[in-house]
């Protein structure tokens, strides 16, 4: 037992850095799903896309601080593609996201030219902060933490503006929002695009953190992000927009520590997926089993078709 604890503690810094980076994916799940009622899977493709764009840019000599925005723009475009497919062809949002993710796999391979590319000598974003030897994880934690703070604060401000409040109305009651003079399509493009951008941001940070990019790096990511979101929402609630915005970050931090603990306790990594799947299932299903049907917004969430 002591060994488990000490392994877990030793893993805390690296897990923390990891979970901060991945919290942007959780945010990318939350925004379309919770704010726009537009359940979306584009992140699974936008995340490796961000990684690929960032890595190739850096390999070609673009500095990290420009490669990352480039990746974010690519992710934004991917999100817009999903929104366009849904709005223009009336294809279900989930299917639209799967289509884009599938196509992005080929795109990512084209961008990379091969399934994986190392990033050894390039200067990563984290190299701009030098706290001395053995402080790698702390550097990552500080830099990504700062980014997270900026993004979180920016979102908080955005959702206090007229346009931010109007965007929430689009998710809550699109017909009403439109009848009150809001361009529903534009809000969806913006929101789903921003989510793609967040996922790409996460991907671009991850490839720099692990010093390589792999075209398969997004696989299975979504279920983790969803589990993290559930945890955050369960702990914080989601009545207020501030709670809803904080939930992805808090959820991510806790979820990945839990995973780390499970691994330290000897759970085979290959069994993680089913454990996570069961966990999400329980989180989604428990309220229904308890008979509180009305409180499970998630399970009966109106899905826009």
């Amino acid at each position: 037992m002591n060994e488990v604890i000490s392994t877990f503690i030793a893993l805390i810094p690296v897990t923390l850095a990891q979970s901060l980076i991945l919290s942007f994916v959780v945010l990318a799940i939350m925004i379309p799903f919770r704010i726009l009622s537009f359940p979306d899977l584009t992140s699974e493709g936008a995340y490796p896309l961000g990684g690929a764009v960032c890595a190739i840019a850096m390999v070609s000599g673009v500095p990290a601080y420009l490669a990352i925005p480039l990746a974010v723009v690519a992710g934004f475009v991917a999100g817009c593609a999903t929104a366009l497919i849904h709005l223009r062809f009336k294809i279900h949002t989930l299917l639209a996201g799967i289509l884009v993710t599938t196509m992005l796999y080929s795109v990512n391979l084209r961008i990379l030219g091969k399934p994986n590319v190392p990033l050894f000598k390039e200067t990563k974003l984290f190299d701009y902060l030098d706290l001395g030897k053995g402080m790698n994880n702390l550097e990552k934690i500080l830099i990504v933490g700062l980014l997270m703070g900026v993004v979180g604060f920016g979102l908080r401000l955005w959702f206090m503006t007229e346009r931010g409040i109007a965007m929430r109305a689009v998710g809550d009651n699109p017909d009403m929002a439109e009848a009150q003079g809001n361009n529903v399509d534009r809000a969806i493009f913006l929101g789903v695009g921003a989510a793609g951008g967040c996922a790409a941001l996460s991907g671009s940070l991850m490839v720099q953190s692990q010093a390589f990019v792999d075209v398969n790096m997004g696989i299975g990511l979504l279920i983790n992000a969803l589990a993290a979101l559930m945890i955050g929402e369960t702990i914080l609630g989601r009545r207020k927009i501030s709670q809803q915005l904080l939930a992805p970050f808090v959820g991510s931090l806790i979820y990945y520590q839990l995973i780390s603990f499970c691994l330290a306790a000897g759970l085979a990594p290959s069994d993680l997926k089913i454990a996570t799947g069961i966990f999400v299932l329980v989180m989604l299903g428990a309220p229904i089993l308890k008979g509180k049907r009305n409180t499970t917004r998630l399970a009966k969430e109106s899905i826009r078709e």
Binding site: T161, N173, Q180, V184
Partner: protein, 295 residues
């Protein structure tokens, strides 16, 4: 334009005052020379065109409404009343014909652009509000109907004070629940809120589609009276769909009877004052007789 605040507050204040009865068909409606607010010509809309289920919902309907006129639309189920209102608001595209509001051709204008002209209260209290958002946020959305949402702070202190004051006159206690989610309100409270939201920025045309039909009789009466007061005090150009013949006789200055996607009967002016529920039902009866005879 937003009317000066005191006037608007007076209107709202009088809405729920039990000692004030609803205004009857008033003599104060504008005469025939009032400028036109709504002009609809030859509107046509067919559902499932070219199939066995083909249904002509609007069949070359024309109608014009002067500024400040209040038309009550009656007609049997499926006559095309809701379809007409949907066409005016833009929720439904028409196949043919034109719609102009305040001399602005809106026929092909998307709903969100048309919103600066049109406000609407639906039959279903769920439809007119964002139920997952707070009362204050809903009020803000309504205030933004006629303008573009900007990158400026939304719920400012000044706005909140305004909303609180406007809602306080409803005497439903909503002003103390500004941060309450609308989903927690009763149907009547929500419909009253919808009504305030519809008139907070005076629309060029107000559309009411059986907006009291889902409420219990007492609440329905309250909301109806509130509506009538707002319409008459703000002189709003209004179209109200009702299944209640007595309402058509008592309120507004025009009765528009729809049948099979056309205006079958358009009663206004002196003729409107002489009309009774009996004479209106006779029209319905004549219609069904004719149908029986296959004419």
């Amino acid at each position: 334009m937003l009317r000066s605040r005191p006037a608007l507050l007076d209107v709202i204040a009088s809405w729920t005052d039990p000692f004030l009865s609803a205004p009857r068909a008033a003599d104060s409606f504008p005469n025939k020379w009032a400028p036109e607010m709504l002009n609809i010509t030859n509107l046509r809309r067919t559902f499932f065109a070219g199939t066995a289920d083909e249904k002509v919902a609007l069949d070359g309907l024309s109608l014009s409404l002067g500024k400040g006129e209040f038309g009550v639309i009656i007609g049997s189920n499926g006559a095309g009343k809701s379809t007409l209102l949907n066409a005016i608001s833009g929720a439904l595209q028409v196949d043919e014909g034109t719609i102009a509001i305040a001399d602005d051709d809106v026929t092909r204008m998307p709903v969100h652009d048309r919103a600066r002209h049109v406000a609407r209260v639906f039959q279903d209290p769920m439809k007119g509000t964002a139920s997952g958002m707070t009362i204050a946020e809903n009020m803000l959305l309504a205030e933004l109907r006629t303008s573009k949402a900007r990158l400026k702070p939304g719920l400012t202190r000044k706005r909140l004070d305004n909303y609180r004051e406007q809602l306080s006159y409803l005497k439903l206690g909503l002003e103390d629940r500004m941060d309450t989610q609308v989903s927690l309100l009763s149907g009547g409270q929500r419909q009253s809120l919808s009504l305030v939201m519809a008139v907070i920025k005076e629309p060029d045309i107000l559309l009411l589609d059986e907006h009291t039909a889902a409420l219990d009789p007492r609440t329905a009466n309250l909301v109806l009276n509130a509506t009538l007061r707002a319409v008459s005090a703000l002189k709003l150009t209004t179209l109200m769909v009702s299944h209640n013949m007595q309402h058509a006789v008592d309120y507004g200055n025009r009765i528009l009877m729809l049948e099979a996607g056309k205006v079958k009967l358009d009663i206004s002016g002196a003729e409107k004052k002489g009309v009774s529920v009996q004479s209106l039902t006779n029209h319905f009866a004549i219609k069904s007789d004719r149908m029986l005879l296959g004419a």
